[in-house]
Symmetry: C2
Subunit: 278 residues, 2 copies
Amino acid sequence: MTGDLSRFSINQMTVKQLSLPDLAEACKELGVGNVGLWREPVQSYGVEATAKLVRDAGLAVTTLCRGGFLTAIDPEERAAALADNRRAVDEAAALGTDTLVLVSGGLPSGSRNLRSARERIADALAELGPYAEEHGVRLAIEPLHPMFASDRCVVSTLAQALDIAERFPAHQVGVTVDTYHIWWDDTAPLQIARAGAAGRIHTFQLADWTTPLPEGVLNGRGQIGDGAIDMREWQSYVETAGYTGPIEVELFNEDLWARDGREVLAETAARFVEHTER
Amino acid sequence: MTGDLSRFSINQMTVKQLSLPDLAEACKELGVGNVGLWREPVQSYGVEATAKLVRDAGLAVTTLCRGGFLTAIDPEERAAALADNRRAVDEAAALGTDTLVLVSGGLPSGSRNLRSARERIADALAELGPYAEEHGVRLAIEPLHPMFASDRCVVSTLAQALDIAERFPAHQVGVTVDTYHIWWDDTAPLQIARAGAAGRIHTFQLADWTTPLPEGVLNGRGQIGDGAIDMREWQSYVETAGYTGPIEVELFNEDLWARDGREVLAETAARFVEHTER
């Protein structure tokens, strides 16, 4: 691989067709030193086994995806969600990453109240933030594109995410800046500055915006360079705001999943080199 | 029809399976006095013929959809777009409506610059605003949901729309407030107040947010009451901001289009009565 990949991190979901051992091996071959992991494949392989695998491969785990889904009204559902998020913190700590990405959750069935759903997230973080801190893990609220507001994430903008995060210390709660979700928002650069000034940019992720969107809109994230987003522009915003950490590429894309995982990883690394400043 | 329909307007696209004469007749039967029209079916039927038809049926035309698509860089494309928008103004005036809805257009092929695309819209309005005023027509910039930012409309929020509109007199350029596009935005209520204070709410439209979104995401607008949006809440925002005009229901929905148009019109009117204050 030509080009500096020291800040590149491959999010596991981008190449979910690769098993964890195959991913570790492919990273080694390509000189990729960072991975973002997902809870479900990690749990399938075993948390401790995964921790050993990445340690032995010399891989740094940049983030664990994902906790969250904290919008339930029902007390039992809320208690279950909190318990699951504490487990996610435990897993993050076991994997040696300092960042757990949170996808907040959508509207409960029958509800039309985004505002109160956002407040329930803040209520939950008042319990989870200290727990995460005790385990050396930071929570990173990820605003998802507004097209997910009803069914997946009631936090749609960096401003909304920061309005919640700022109620807590930065080493407990910050934000995920993902180009895919915020690229349309002309106020996002200012919000990135707001987040950076307080040390709340806990991770920076790239995905490109391509159309037409597929049915359900979840798995249409474009390969870097294929879409409408100027990656260098967003990189410059987070770096001007003081972020110098890893840059994770996280794509959900049926076409990429249908291809050879090592080939997709190599292509993604090459696109990273082509479309970011190093 | 039970219930006050005096402020209800049926946008033609909601029942596009109905011909213009059938739409006029169905409106008469149901006691619907307002329609929003679209250029393509009006042109097919004939602008003057449509004007006579609605006049004879006693229907008020609340809006004409749509002008816009003003983001081209190529000079010939820009000139063609401006000419087409002048024709749209002429058609609006001929139909007796004072409001032409504008969908701004997406990114030109190969461009990743939303900011400059938005500036080109403002440049175009500097020419179109005075022309519209001469013809007694107001231009209503419609922010479309951010999921349309690349391919259909680079204006994604009311704030962005007002940033452009405020460069012109309110009787030339205002905004379209459509629940479907802005319901996720916690800053939209403030922007509605900003628009209302300046007399820039030129039309208010309803559609509900339902999931999963269909492929291409264009034709997934839900029937009023079927989705996540509290219509009364948004009605209260525009009314508190001083808007007392028609409330148009504009749905793009394959399931509704597959049904009997009169039945859909009756259902839509009933849902309007159920979900708005009168």
